[in-house]
Symmetry: C2
Subunit: 454 residues, 2 copies
Amino acid sequence: MKCAQNGTMSPAPARGLTVLSLAMLAALSPVAAHAAPDSTAWDLLAGLTSEVGPRLAGSEGEARARVWAEARLKALGFSKVAIEPFPIRGYVRGKDEASMTTPIPFKLAVTALGYSGTTPDKGIEGEVVYFQTLDALKAAPAGSLTGKIAFIDHAMKRSQDGSGYGPYGQVRRAGPGIAAAKGAAGVVIRSIGTDSHRNPHTGGTNFPQGIKPIPAGAVSNPDADLIARIARSGKPIRLNLTLTGKTVDGLPSGNVIGDLPGRDPSLPPILLGCHLDSWDLGTGAIDDAAGCAIITAAALKAQEGGATLRTIRVLWAGSEEIGGFGGKAYADKHGEPHALAMESDFGAGKVWRVQFNMGDKALTDRIAVALSPMGIVRGSGKADGGTDVEPVIEKQKLAVVDLNQDGTYYFDLHHTPDDTLDKVDPADLAQNVAAWTEVLKIVANEAGPITAAP
Amino acid sequence: MKCAQNGTMSPAPARGLTVLSLAMLAALSPVAAHAAPDSTAWDLLAGLTSEVGPRLAGSEGEARARVWAEARLKALGFSKVAIEPFPIRGYVRGKDEASMTTPIPFKLAVTALGYSGTTPDKGIEGEVVYFQTLDALKAAPAGSLTGKIAFIDHAMKRSQDGSGYGPYGQVRRAGPGIAAAKGAAGVVIRSIGTDSHRNPHTGGTNFPQGIKPIPAGAVSNPDADLIARIARSGKPIRLNLTLTGKTVDGLPSGNVIGDLPGRDPSLPPILLGCHLDSWDLGTGAIDDAAGCAIITAAALKAQEGGATLRTIRVLWAGSEEIGGFGGKAYADKHGEPHALAMESDFGAGKVWRVQFNMGDKALTDRIAVALSPMGIVRGSGKADGGTDVEPVIEKQKLAVVDLNQDGTYYFDLHHTPDDTLDKVDPADLAQNVAAWTEVLKIVANEAGPITAAP
């Protein structure tokens, strides 16, 4: 573990998981493990997590983050730096507590899900109905959950490309609404995560139109293991659930944007996205301070030898987590043409694959060749950017390059109290910056039209 | 990862840390990784953690554990099973909360230390004085901390033999008393642990005679990293600390003992120790349900072919964590001669080394030879048993065999909410049982006198 070159915010020694994953990754890819730290990226990451902290969409923390981001982007030499405000329907966290009361007393590690219903201060108590899968819950008869607390288990496993989050994430996104529709008084899910620590994974949920939100929480995986073991033994389980947070309309949010002007201002810019907001349990290091650090440091690096032909714009979006509001606001406000969009929002693991949505095969070949010395393979899937740039991609049919990060350990930390600075390996962060820089040097200097695949 | 042979409580799939450490251990010792699961040990471990749960010394949970242990030992065929009660000065946990208020608002992951002083319900607020080491705190002038909150950092690293816990554990054991003597209103330490998760490590502390206890808590390592980064930046830090737990005299505790009678009742028994109590944040899987599971399963296995010559006694001690009260109570009550004592209280990592305190070199050679096919090396240090058997060892000058477990990851979990069943690898647990069984087959069948080293 090396230290950042800038002395003011040198990385703390990595511990625990990071040490182990480093050891394993080193065994798998010894070359990539030797990238030099990038001080710009590390300083942004350390600053946002240590000088701002948690940045829940619509919160005072997110507001401070916008002010911080504006100042930092200006200090780094970006022009046309602007905060672009918009209001959101947000979730204001309250007291999150849950305890098993039967068959044994046990205080559970729980978090409310975003847009959860609200319990009284004393909580609600009820019998648990155990569902091994979301499908099992769907199969429960209407009304069968009246007055009860549904517990939804599941079996998400780790994967490099994070592909488990689509299907298993539905437990969180849709499960509470389904339980509510069947009359449940509350719902608790196994965290959507691949770790085994007493840190629950939060995240947004949604209740369908006409369904009154019910209190909805996630317990950590070890807590879910205990519930599952007791459920399998056949003993009745009762929980007390206290989730006093509230959904509130009209909270202030906003995007922060900044440009590094290109030599030809008439050419549509390259748009790089990340999100400034974070869940509030940790300090949002991997989700997504790392993304903002990577895109911003790479944009600067791509211009180190002089301005690129095209302008590079960074979009540090607000309120991604709770509904992708920042990306929508950007697309609505910015009707001017863009050339291509990219996003970094999958942690700080090394880039291992590149994928495209691009009409010009020769251009994709040049990018793939430039990345090949880093061990980055070319995938056959279609690039889709990320939540913060998808609306403008959709609207303008933009070309996209995805630099896929190794997500093997991403869902160990995602949306947990454990998403903190110590989890980022400076060498991994630097490898991301280097890969992004390679891509930007090509696309931001491309004179001809850059188009999406037909 | 294999499953336990008994179907009722099969081990949950290992995740996160366990998966990684398994992978690394497999690389280091491929042979030992293939031990078959031991269903007796696993059932005891799963039962104590899932059917009883947390077992804080002096608590209702510890009382239920004694009843559970008595029933289990009887069901397993132990005779003279008895609960031996004693009262203790205990710590009753209250509300544990801490927040940074300056320079940024941040809710810290905190736990009170055992015997901490008590704050008002609204907590105390104060300026933080940062000490990088315990020595730095010791060097602070008398009275210099008046009204302030001392923060004690440190730099414990992981080690296979856990040797960092002696010196760095002093930060927890002695640090609060030193801060109190210098006038501090409260004290917060970096957790005594080697992980980097938002799970604080609790444990007992001690205030010297005549020093009024002050509120004393430990924050998780990532929280300590944040405090240290901000302290290095020179910004003032203020914390709010709410620790409402109380020290209470006369709480009920007790030991549970049981015998597997030997063929010659006139010979002094072999005493095997573990502790039944646990810290209350997790379910005490590695500390020390695993130890009780290992010694008990091994005692039974040693008698599978028929009773051993000597009686084997298990001591499931109470109130180890808060002051080693169970071991003292046992030594006071049991003046009858013992032959030899051993203890398992260092998690569930594989046994890698054997050490002795024994007068008969030939006997130690036979044990070392029996263990050598398992890759267990002979150490040159002197065996000392463990907290629960040390008082009787001291009093009776007993021979001791130590089966040292791999503690590389032990202090990732020790005294945290994360000490739960999923952290135990069934194959590691089985390897422990197998090693203990080898030793017991020799020492419990030794007819001649078994003596300590001179």
